[in-house]
Structure formats: structure tokens, C-alpha cells
């Protein structure tokens, strides 16, 4: 018995110090994640204790009377992101279908490179382009005619403005397209090849194969890709800040100026004085980061399951 113990002790492998060391270093990313939430929560303290849950549902934003509510920013963030998703979804799926099409390698290579470059362009460059090129174009060719004809629908009513919720949504559409199409491409690629081949062997056309076989099989993953793109849209800051008009109100029309959580922080944080004002902005940051983290985790779980469950 004693001998056996001794033998086992002697056989015990030396602890893998390399593994422990690298494991410790790799804690940096989770630590940063937790630290961001904790630090923002602490610093937002004065605003959280002053306004409580009311902060999320009131719409006054008055630095003079130190009365703050997050509703206009939550509204602007949700509306611009939702419009961007609606506009980007058909285009993103189309791109993903082209990118996963067997054959047509030349087209696929060119489109793939183009989408990657689209993702590489800095946010602020989209911002300056949107401000000087896209906003005037949309104003003349989309906002004015639409509000003239369909203004009786409240959300399209005038008077339209160049910097508006709608302009910001269009910029967001362009900016989330790479995420949406790249992740959709990955989940469509994970659909077993046999499905496509048997469908074609049965005489289905290209469109029938895609619409009735491939897309239904990839549906959960494409939903995940959409949610991931939503996460990007919610947190996008600079380009949106430059074209949304920066007005802390809840406008009836999408052609009116608005504000988002990220852009109010970008614009006002360096000028915020006193104790409550910066704390309120930090609380907006906390709300933003908690929402995007939740959305991202949900999306990652969806995409991962879609990409790995079927072989």
C-alpha cells in the first residue's frame, strides 16, 4: 500500500508550467471584458442612485437642471439599427450566396476581396463620406420625394433634413454588410455538400436548390449572423455621430435628426462638467455595453451551433 503510493507519487507528471503561464496570460481578454463593465458601473454610480430605473424610460436631457433620461438615445439606437438590418439583410444574403456558389471563382474572389476592403475602411472615413456625399444625395433623391408623397405616414413626414435617423441608418447598412455577409457565408458553407448535390441531382434549378434546401438548412445560422450584425450596428459610433443630427428628442419621422447612445457619449463626454452629467453619460455607456454584450453572446451561440451541429 505504502509502496503503491510512493510509486504513484513518483509517476506523477511534472506540472505543465507552460500551460499554467499561458493560461494566466490568456486571462487578459476576459479580465478586460469584466473590468470594462465593473469600471463603468462604478463610475456611473451617482447617476444610477439619483435616477434609478427612471433613467431608462424618461426622455429629458437637460444638463442645466441636471435632469437626465436615456430614452431618446435608446430610441435612436434601436431605430437606426433596425432600419440598417432591414436594408442590409437581403443584400448580405445575396452576397453570401454568391460567395458560397461552387464555380464562378473569378467573381467570388473579386466579391470577397471587395467585401473585405469594405470592412477595412475606417469608420471616420465612412463618416466624412456620408456627411458630404451620401447625406445630400439621400436628401434630394430619397427623403424629399418620399416625404412629399408618403408624408401622411407619420414616420415619413417632413420636413426632411440631411442629417437624420435615415441617413445614419443607410451608413450603418453599409458598415454592417461585411459582418453580415461574411458570417452568413460561413454558416451556408457549413451546410453539408450532399444536400446541394442531391437537390441538383433531383433536377432542381439553382434557385430552387438555394431557396428550398440551402437557405432553410442555414436559417438558424443566418439569424445568428443578423444578430451579430445588429450588435455591430448598436455600438457604431463615429460615422453615425457625423450624420445623425445630434438632437436628444424622439422624432416622429425617420427624416428628422435624432441621437444614439454612442454618439451622445462621443459628443458630450469631454464637455460634461459636475458630478451627475458625466455619470449619466457613463451610465449610457454601461447600458450600451450591456446590451451589445448580451446581443453578441446570443449571436455567437446561435452561429456556433449552426456551424458545428451538422457535419
Amino acid at each position: 500500500m505504502i509502496g503503491a503510493t510512493r510509486v504513484r507519487a513518483g509517476m506523477r507528471p511534472t506540472p505543465d508550467r507552460f500551460r499554467l503561464l499561458t493560461a494566466a496570460i490568456s486571462l487578459a481578454a476576459p479580465a478586460a471584458l469584466v473590468a470594462i463593465v465593473v469600471v463603468l458601473y462604478q463610475e456611473a454610480g451617482p447617476a444610477i442612485t439619483t435616477f434609478g430605473a427612471r433613467f431608462l424610460v424618461t426622455s429629458s436631457w437637460n444638463p442645466v437642471t441636471a435632469n437626465f433620461g436615456a430614452l431618446p438615445f435608446i430610441y435612436g439606437t434601436v431605430v437606426t439599427s433596425a432600419i440598417a438590418i432591414a436594408l442590409a439583410l437581403p443584400v448580405g444574403i445575396a452576397v453570401a450566396m454568391v460567395l458560397t456558389e461552387p464555380g464562378a471563382t473569378g467573381v467570388r474572389g473579386a466579391v470577397g476581396t471587395g467585401i473585405e476592403l469594405l470592412a477595412a475602411i475606417p469608420s471616420v472615413v465612412y463618416g466624412i463620406w456620408a456627411l458630404y456625399v451620401l447625406a445630400p444625395f439621400l436628401y434630394i433623391h430619397v427623403e424629399v420625394p418620399l416625404s412629399a408623397r408618403f408624408g401622411w405616414l407619420g414616420f415619413l413626414s417632413g420636413p426632411p433634413r440631411q442629417t437624420s435617423l435615415f441617413t445614419a441608418s443607410v451608413v450603418l447598412t453599409v458598415m454592417i454588410l461585411p459582418t453580415l455577409s461574411a458570417v452568413s457565408r460561413d454558416v451556408i458553407r457549413a451546410v453539408p455538400k450532399g444536400l446541394r448535390e442531391s437537390s441538383i441531382a433531383l433536377g432542381a434549378t439553382w434557385w430552387e436548390t438555394n431557396r428550398k434546401v440551402i437557405l432553410p438548412a442555414a436559417r438558424a445560422g443566418i439569424f445568428g449572423a443578423t444578430v451579430l450584425a445588429l450588435g455591430r450596428a448598436l455600438g457604431e459610433t463615429i460615422a453615425v455621430t457625423m450624420v445623425i443630427g445630434n438632437r436628444p428628442e424622439i422624432p416622429a419621422s425617420i427624416f428628422s435628426p435624432g441621437y444614439t447612445l454612442a454618439s451622445v457619449i462621443a459628443n458630450e463626454f469631454t464637455e460634461a462638467t459636475g458630478q451627475i452629467y458625466p455619470a449619466a453619460l457613463l451610465e449610457l455607456g454601461l447600458v450600451l455595453i450591456l446590451v451589445t454584450f448580451t446581443v453578441n453572446v446570443a449571436a455567437l451561440l446561435l452561429v456556433r451551433r449552426a456551424a458545428s451541429s451538422r457535419r
Binding site: R19, A28, A29, V95, S123, G235, G285, L300
Partner: protein, 286 residues
């Protein structure tokens, strides 16, 4: 009857195919437009040598430049790389070499969530942690914020590159009696080097283009400053601030800075693609 049905199906197929390709074309229109306008409107400012040698001047005085912003971007991205790349590479090696561990799953999830974290929130984080205690903005704070942004990109691309290396290489190293750390650092990592470098370059390109994390950390500076303990300018900050001014000269300067920024970012991207192609060829040989 059947022929009519088949014709209808063929017609639907052609229509759908054209629609898909049309939508794909639409997706690439913004890329062409952004590149074209950035070049066309940025060229007048960026074609002067002064633009790269001088710093900002009061509106109306010619010869203004963005040398201070180029220096600031270089210094802050450089410092951020020194911080993020070693930590990210080691983390990525850990994820690939001990892929099944429970910790690896959490680190992977954290990195993926951090990639999608709003950059403005990372700026706030940097402000609270490094600017507020010191009572002034600094290049160091900007670099730290950019490092948080780069870290998850480096981790995930390193993991991907290391995981590509066939396990026969690992096994032959272990069979020769090499300890685990030498196999990982001296055998696997060099074989994966091109992929790791690609990831690092992409992360640097991303950091160079970010504005939001620098607003409350690096803050900006009208003068040439090479000392990271002081506020520093950066190319994206110039674009952001100058584009929103009513002065034509400053707007032109913003477009010029945007052109320099796009050229820089696309150049890094192209370089990384070139490195990556070598990686794929190398992995094929192993």
C-alpha cells in the same frame, strides 16, 4: 404543359440569379464611391509635401499639414502593438494548444464578445482608468485603449493560424523529447508565423482607423508631440474634428487626412494578404 412549367422554372431561376448578382453589385457600389470620393476630394490637400511635414495652422494661412497626427497615430498604434501583440499571441497559442480546456472556451467567448464591443465604451474605460487619475489626457491612455481593441483580433487570428499547423509536427517534436513549451514556441509558432503576422497587421490597421477610443484618451493636439505622456493627435481625430467645421480649408484638410488614412489601412491590408498567401502555401508543404 410540362414544357411550360419547366420554362417558368427556368425563367424564375434566371430572374433570381440576376437579382442575386444585382444585389451583390449594389453591395460593392459604396466601396467604389467611398474610395473615389476620398481620392478625388483628398488629393488637393494630400498632394502637397507640406501636408506631411507641417502641423495645423490657423484657418486661412496656407501650408497646414498633419505631421503631428501621423506621428501620433504611429506612436499610439506602436505602443498599443507592443502591449497587445505579445499578450494576444501567447493567448492565441494557449487556445490552439489546449483547445479543449474549459478556460479556453471562456477566453474564446470573451475575445469574440470583445471584438464586438462598442469602441466608444473602450474609450470611456481608458478615460476612467488612465486619464481621470492623472488629470490629463495622454498618448499612453490612447495606446492602452487601442490595445484593448487589438487584443481580441490578435488572439483569434493567432489561434486560427496555429490550429492550421498539422499535429504531426507537434507529435514529431514531442517524440524527440522536446518539452511542450519548446514544441509550441520553437516549432509550431515559427511554422504559423505568417498567419500570426497577418493577424497582428490586421489588428494594427483596425487600431489605426479607430476614432472613438481616442476621443477621451489621446484627445488630440494641435502641435507636434512625440511624448506619449502628453495629449496626442491622430489621423482619425483630424478627420472627425475638421470635417465638422464650417471652414473649407479645414474640410479639405479632413479629406486629405482621410485619404492618408485609407491609403495606410488598405496598404496594411494588402500586405497582410500577401503574408497570408505564403502561410497557406507553407501549411500545404507541412
Amino acid at each position: 404543359m410540362i414544357r411550360a412549367l419547366n420554362q417558368w422554372r427556368r425563367f424564375k431561376n434566371t430572374a433570381a440569379l440576376s437579382a442575386i448578382y444585382a444585389l451583390t453589385g449594389i453591395a460593392l457600389v459604396p466601396l467604389a464611391l467611398v474610395l473615389w470620393y476620398t481620392i478625388a476630394r483628398g488629393f488637393p490637400a494630400a498632394s502637397h509635401l507640406d501636408f506631411y511635414l507641417n502641423v495645423e495652422r490657423p484657418v486661412g494661412i496656407p501650408g497646414a499639414g498633419v505631421a503631428h497626427a501621423i506621428a501620433g497615430t504611429g506612436i499610439m498604434v506602436g505602443l498599443a502593438s507592443l502591449l497587445a501583440i505579445p499578450v494576444g499571441v501567447v493567448s492565441g497559442v494557449h487556445l490552439a494548444e489546449y483547445a479543449a480546456g474549459r478556460l479556453a472556451g471562456w477566453v474564446r467567448l470573451a475575445a469574440d464578445v470583445l471584438v464586438g464591443a462598442p469602441s466608444i465604451a473602450i474609450g470611456l474605460f481608458g478615460y476612467v482608468l488612465l486619464v481621470a487619475p492623472q488629470h490629463h489626457f495622454s498618448g499612453f491612455a490612447g495606446a492602452a485603449a487601442l490595445a484593448v481593441l487589438m487584443l481580441p483580433v490578435v488572439i483569434r487570428t493567432t489561434e486560427g493560424a496555429v490550429a492550421l499547423i498539422p499535429s504531426s509536427l507537434r507529435e514529431s517534436g514531442l517524440a524527440l523529447g522536446l518539452p511542450r513549451w519548446r514544441v509550441a514556441l520553437q516549432l509550431v509558432l515559427p511554422a504559423a508565423a505568417p498567419g500570426v503576422i497577418t493577424g497582428a497587421l490586421l489588428a494594427m490597421a483596425r487600431a489605426a482607423g479607430e476614432t472613438a477610443p481616442l476621443l477621451f484618451t489621446g484627445f488630440g493636439n494641435r502641435f507636434l508631440n512625440l511624448d506619449p505622456s502628453q495629449p496626442m493627435s491622430a489621423l482619425p481625430l483630424i478627420v472627425f474634428h475638421d470635417a465638422l467645421t464650417p471652414y473649407a480649408a479645414l474640410q479639405e484638410q479632413a479629406w486629405g487626412a482621410a485619404l492618408v488614412l485609407v491609403a495606410l489601412v488598405l496598404l496594411i491590408n494588402l500586405a497582410s494578404r500577401w503574408v497570408l498567401r505564403r502561410q497557406i502555401r507553407l501549411a500545404g508543404q507541412l
